[in-house]
Symmetry: C2
Subunit: 326 residues, 2 copies
Amino acid sequence: MNNQIKVAIVGYGNLGRGVELSISKNPDMSLVAVFSRRDPKSVTTINTPVYSVENILDFKDKVDVLILCGGSKDDLPIQGPLYAEHFNIVDSYDNHAEIPSYFASVDKVAKPNKKVGMISIGWDPGMFSINRLFGEALLPDGDTYTFWGKGLSQGHSDAIRRVEGVKAGVQYTIPSNSAIEKVRSGTRPSLSTKDKHTRECFVVLKDGADAKKVENEIKTMPNYFEPYDTTVNFISQEEFDKNHNTMPHGGFVIRSGNSSNGINQVIEYSLKLDSNPEFTASVLVAYARATYKLALKGDFGAKTAFDVAPNLLSAKSPADLVKELL
Amino acid sequence: MNNQIKVAIVGYGNLGRGVELSISKNPDMSLVAVFSRRDPKSVTTINTPVYSVENILDFKDKVDVLILCGGSKDDLPIQGPLYAEHFNIVDSYDNHAEIPSYFASVDKVAKPNKKVGMISIGWDPGMFSINRLFGEALLPDGDTYTFWGKGLSQGHSDAIRRVEGVKAGVQYTIPSNSAIEKVRSGTRPSLSTKDKHTRECFVVLKDGADAKKVENEIKTMPNYFEPYDTTVNFISQEEFDKNHNTMPHGGFVIRSGNSSNGINQVIEYSLKLDSNPEFTASVLVAYARATYKLALKGDFGAKTAFDVAPNLLSAKSPADLVKELL
């Protein structure tokens, strides 16, 4: 197609690969380039040409939307404002506390340069955020509950691996079924994050390490594990490699509210994901389409999922959407 | 508040009453009038003044948004285009097959008169439609499943009451648990509406009526009941009055898709509603706020939920939403 939306990726890890897969499922888009800080020869994509990120400005007029697939801690705070000067960008910046200042830093560059900077796209922040907003707007007299999991938590897995004697380890966050049932009942219980989740760890020990000591050190780790009901399972490297090499995730956003006295209304949004990075990538790609349409309309500056009308996410015309999906 | 959004209602049945309740939970809005075709003295609201609909044009400059609470069959096709000439309107037009032509009839009047005509708002069409769109846009390689219930179906209850020997009756549509579980598993089964739902009827017989004959006539009614797994329960008038006087409803929209080979991703949106009309009313009120904001921006014409960015639904500022909910 000549009128495909031309997309490029910066950074090719699990998320970048997910974006490449997702674009192959969207015939109105084409992936023209992957940009990497690594030697392009050392980066193996599925079938997209790889260029050094140093040459990215040569593509200024060949790319409609640039999807930033770097990390929120070190990459995006620099890359977002840097590339929003020259490209419409989409990213998955997910450091919740810092989003307002990141938004401002992207907005300051994108607006005067007539670019769209779509930030914090994915499922949380992203789809979960939208559902928190819908819940609150539709049922103002209510409470919102977010549950995460079952899913692999990168931060908690890293924390396990820093414990002495640990050779390999992963941590799954598991939503508490009894807490979910309480929320679904419409009773609007008070629940802390700790009440809503348990933590399950799978650990491979180094030769000669003391299992009791490792278990205790994990379970008593402040903030990460201490306040939670935590289980530690010791397994072999073989079992670890076989059963813990995927990145499932998901969760629930539940709004429980009262439209009048005694009338309970419960809205529930949930995700069950075999692959966290592939789903996040799918969301990024749909919002890349919206970013392109916003840029065509001249609606520039930093944007979030809250600014995007559902229509903009689809490749179909508004009239077809009304006919087929309304 | 002086800067409250001024809302009025046309038609005061279950839905109109729900709108009145909902506005009382939204401090940025006030309900200035209920318009009725009945004698205003015969209409008892909670605390809103009632006027004859014949005087509605006197309120042209006193109302920001008019919420039409009439029926889709006879009222809205006339009222939508009629009132969109003078007011920003919101309605819950739900005759799916006729939505495109209704949209056109409202658009033709609203646009030249610089009004916003927000149509087909509620949960289906409405929130379910949005979730069908999100599902398709996020997981283009996938299937969408809509389940309704457990809920009272007005059309099927009417059909029961037309059977000879029936004094009173209601019908609940019940989603099939086994079908839902199949869909949640990610296997993307093929399911007809009939596979996805069963029908449960509660019937009070007239004196001397033949139960066997009534049951048979219901179960073999073409289209309504014949193709479904239907249960008929006979109960006393007393039990009917006690247990079947509310209007619960709800349902599920599930998108099951593959982001790559063998990777299943499942998105589920569900509603569990004690009161169908009160929830529909809550959605109408949130979209009345969006309608007001679109009119302020000069974005006139017919609109649906697909045209509304989530931001527009909330009373909070975009910056607060980013800070609190993203």
